[in-house]
């Protein structure tokens, strides 16, 4: 399976299409951190929100870049489950690359600062919270990107529609006064939590929520793949 993950990452990175999400990610981060200096945890919370669509889009591109017949060749070689799991893991590795860039970027451009007033978090604490904020956004983004991929939606139009509706859903349903917040992954609630004093139980609950949402969405993807090799 490692060989298939590597093969897919190589296929993704060698085509120019890998550039689009990376540039989009850097551009959003540049806009985000252009305003001035912020406390890391709070800034990272917002960064995770704006990167969520980029991560989902990158997943869709990575899965779509491989020709349909090549995907089926891999399926005949390694079997159906390992084939789709390998695709998601390749997307996860690419996503982790983008997350790393998002964590490092603000320090390079001076978008964040260390503790200024007493009571501000230390830099390692801010970094750890930022990493957590991005990592809980990654699985739902992978799931959304997978559901929007060509193998499921079968046409470019539907693919973009799924991606857009998913992202808009995350933003709208994630608002404070939402009636059914659990319909979307907790990207917005996590950003709000990171802006304040986040407690251990809250972090745990948000992590569970993100993983549960991703698990449900990925179960749907796995089931849909039965009929869509």
């Amino acid at each position: 399976m490692t060989a298939l993950i590597r093969f897919r990452l190589a296929g993704f990175l060698r085509t120019g299409r890998a550039l689009a999400p990376v540039l989009a990610g850097l551009l959003t981060l540049a806009v985000l951190y252009g305003g001035g200096r912020a406390q890391p945890a709070e800034a990272y919370g917002v960064s995770a929100v704006v990167l969520f669509p980029v991560l989902a889009w990158q997943t869709k591109i990575l899965l779509d870049v491989e020709p349909d017949v090549q995907r089926r060749l891999a399926l005949a070689t390694v079997g159906p489950t390992r084939e789709w799991v390998a695709g998601l893991l390749a997307a996860a590795v690419a996503g982790l690359g983008l997350v790393t860039a998002a964590l490092v970027f603000p320090w390079l451009v001076g978008g964040v600062t260390g503790p200024v007033v007493p009571g501000d978090r230390s830099i390692p604490a801010g970094l750890a919270l930022g990493l957590w904020g991005h990592l809980i956004a990654l699985p739902p983004a992978l799931a959304l990107g997978a559901l929007a991929s060509r193998v499921i939606t079968r046409s470019a139009g539907y693919g973009v529609a799924v991606l857009t509706l998913g992202v808009v859903g995350v933003l709208v349903i994630g608002r404070t006064d939402s009636v059914a917040p659990w319909l979307a992954p907790p990207v917005m609630p996590a950003a709000r939590a990171l802006a304040g004093a986040i407690s251990g139980p809250t972090a745990l609950a948000l992590t569970g929520w993100a993983l549960a949402w991703a698990a449900v969405a990925l179960t749907g993807y796995a089931r849909a793949r039965h009929r869509r090799p």
Partner: protein, 262 residues
């Protein structure tokens, strides 16, 4: 390998492409799948290869290593011939060294040497088809599925397909080939399945070259003697299996511990 009462449609409430198909493919056996365009030949092949799952019914006892040569090779990929084949061998589970050796062997065999560093997207159709063939053979397949393998190949390469098929059969593998151009004559002794109206009909093999598989039961102490005697008489032993074989135990008609042909 068996396809047992296999039904397939591509969409819910779509038309059935295959209806209640039951076919058996024994080790060491080649089958040519015939039929008009769009009748479901590729569908049947992809079911056998494990690319498609039956909507109803099941595919049983598929060999662990399956080589599938698709109708068209997906050449729109950012790899060189050598890089692609090594990566395919690694995906198939070969180690780095094994992959390099297997790729070297098949690149030589199929005359792909001059194209080793050429990008897939720059290959001619026939050369790309050879890469597709090599990719399926890097790990000796227990089941080789060839979808129109002669398509686009030049005269020399056409002769290679029956050779390769013969080698897979000699190693106890099964081969499934689709063909709509009458190249089948190159595979003497192959069984024929005709796909029409969603069903698969066995076409009786004809001619002196036709072979059949005879399964017979022999008491365990006499196995060695019987095998030696049958070989001496010019028969081809496909495989010897014990009563403990769980797959055999579930099918009374194939219970016997011996399969002998030719």
């Amino acid at each position: 390998m068996w396809l047992e009462d296999v039904w397939l449609r591509y969409r819910r409430r779509g038309p059935w492409v295959l209806r209640g198909t039951t076919v058996h493919l024994a080790p060491g056996e080649a089958v040519v799948v015939l039929g008009r365009n769009g009748v479901g030949k590729s569908t049947l092949l992809q079911l056998a290869a494990g690319v498609l799952r039956p909507t109803r019914g099941r595919v049983a006892d598929r060999p662990a290593v399956v080589g599938w040569v698709s109708e068209r090779f997906p050449a729109d990929q950012p790899f060189t011939v050598g890089g692609y084949l090594v990566a395919s061998a690694r995906v198939a589970g070969l180690s780095r060294g094994e992959a390099d050796r297997a790729v070297g062997r098949w690149v030589d065999r199929l005359g792909l040497g001059p194209f080793h560093a050429v990008r897939l997207s720059q290959l001619s159709k026939g050369t790309a088809q050879k890469v597709g063939l090599a990719q399926a053979l890097l790990r000796p397949p227990g089941l080789l599925v060839l979808d129109e393998p002669w398509e686009g190949l030049d005269a020399d390469a056409r002769e290679l397909v029956p050779q390769v098929v013969g080698e897979v059969l000699a190693d106890g593998g099964s081969v499934l080939v689709s063909d709509h151009r009458g190249e089948t004559a190159r595979l003497p002794g192959a069984r024929g399945w005709t796909v029409a109206d969603g069903t698969v009909v066995e076409r009786a093999p004809s001619g002196a070259g036709a072979v059949a598989v005879v399964e017979l039961e022999v008491p365990v102490p006499q196995v060695a003697d019987t095998v030696a005697r049958l070989r001496a008489e010019g028969h081809h032993i496909l495989r010897v299996r014990g009563h403990t074989d769980p797959a055999a135990a579930t099918r009374p008609e194939t219970g016997p511990p011996f399969e002998v042909a030719r």
